[in-house]
Amino acid sequence: MGVNVDLASISLTDGLSVTLSAVGLALPVTMLVALLAALSVAARASGAAGPLVRSAGRSGRAAPPVVTGCAIAVVALLMGATNVAVIAAVAMAAATLPGATSALVEIFSSIEARQRLYAALAAGASPQYVALIVHLRASLRSVIAVALRTAARMGVDSGVLVVALVGAGSAERAAASAPSSLDLTSLPFAAGQFFAAAVAPASHEVLLRAAMLVVLVLVLHGAARLLEGEPYRSSVAR
């Protein structure tokens, strides 16, 4: 299997676009499922998260991206490495879902959220109405911040995936007596190009693309931070 030639049925000439398409597929699915799961927990009662959700969330956040990357590499190899963006999207969604769900459950289970929930219930709203309207309206910024952080993690995960695939591809090429040096500009993912650029810093184009991904991840984290606001600054006007 060659990484640069046979990996995907979609064009792999621009690694950044493939990364973005994989994240673009995985992110909405992950966030939608995580949101529904978190809301169902919040709607059930006072927003107390079940121990299973918390445990899964901790595990999901603790799992290093390399685990995701290696898992995707195995799946890709087994499937003949077609539709790599879809394969990556599915694996990334599965890997980041527990963490995203747990983060949302924590948002919906905060003291402030619980107070809002009780207040709305005391005003005679039904639990479903409360969960869907009040929770979402109050937590919209936080939910978007979780989505941005999840996207950033997916971006990093996809980079690790590429490293794993590049390793597998290189080994295969070496076995088939292919040229030992990689064509850096045609590596599939920008993150992969970043790691490759570390060993071949002369390629400015590769470095530029890799820097773009780093900037993108930083922007996503920065936007998430901005949306969440300063955690210790009270907005209370006494």
Binding site: A45, S46, Q115, R116, Y118, A119, A120, L121, A122, A123, G124, A125, S126, Y129, V134, R137, A138, S235, V236, A237, R238
Partner: protein, 259 residues
């Protein structure tokens, strides 16, 4: 001990053998009393005496935690509110609960006040505006805040926010208002302002106020109930209970002696 108050008027609130427990802990042990219309009741007692649980049990907020078990009877205007077949949302509208922390909703002042009406299905803009004005006038906020209805409650002080929360409950025209230490988050000046408003409100609505502030209980209530470990130790007219308590435990509590 179970306290019973019988007055020659029809009871607005009637509690009979109300019990609440969570696991093996019994938080309320057979509370029984009746309260006439337009009467304010202060519930006093130490930490863990069951003041907040009593209020939450009455308006079915304990239903939110499946570990709570509630039994007995709570009647509002003769209508039972406990039981599986009861519309819980309707009960909560009849018994407006206000929390110690002002829990404003993430919407404008106007939307906060009419939140319960919208949840009930009221859609007529004119009716909603009328209800908003009425509620804001009753909590003495109309002059100050009535025209700033599009602002967020978080733009205002805790005291104003608490009054917005009370307006949200009042907008539903409840049979009784249950206030769980409503001044706990307020400074003395804000407490005084809120008490002035409650003093006016108590003339037109039945109030049940759980409070840790004995002076506030004396100022705001017609009847006072002293709870200890989920039991009613003593219940009676406020001036009498504060000046001549019939139980030594009440006397000790009022004097600040730890029993």
């Amino acid at each position: 001990m179970t306290g019973v108050r019988t007055v020659g008027q029809e009871a607005k609130l009637a509690l009979a053998d109300l019990r609440a427990s969570r696991g093996s802990v019994e938080a309320l042990r057979g509370i029984t009393f009746t309260l006439p219309d337009a009467t304010s009741l202060a519930v006093i007692g130490g930490a863990g005496s069951g003041k907040s649980v009593l209020l939450r049990a009455m308006c079915r907020m304990l239903d939110l935690d499946s570990e709570w078990r509630v039994s007995g009877s709570v009647k509002v205007d003769g209508e039972e509110v406990l039981g599986d077949a009861i519309d819980v949302a309707r009960v909560r509208r009849k018994l407006g609960l206000v929390f110690s922390q002002p829990a404003v909703l993430p919407m404008s002042v106007f939307e906060n006040v009419i939140f319960g009406l919208r949840a009930m299905g009221v859609r007529d803009p004119r009716a909603l505006e009328d209800a908003y004005e009425r509620a804001m006038r009753r909590v003495m906020l109309w002059e100050q805040l009535g025209r700033q209805q599009s602002k967020r409650p978080t733009d205002f002080s805790f005291e104003i926010r608490q009054r917005i929360c009370i307006a949200r409950a009042v907008a539903l025209e409840p049979q009784a208002l249950l206030l769980d230490d409503p001044c706990a988050a307020l400074d003395p000046v804000a407490t005084q302002t809120l008490e002035d408003m409650l003093s006016r409100l108590r003339r037109e609505c039945t109030l049940v106020i759980a409070t840790n502030n004995l002076q506030q209980a004396a100022r705001l209530s017609d009847v006072t109930c002293f709870l200890e470990r989920g039991d009613v130790v003593e219940i009676g007219d406020t001036p009498v209970l504060f000046s001549r308590p019939s139980d030594t435990r009440t006397e000790d509590f009022l004097a600040g002696r730890v029993s």
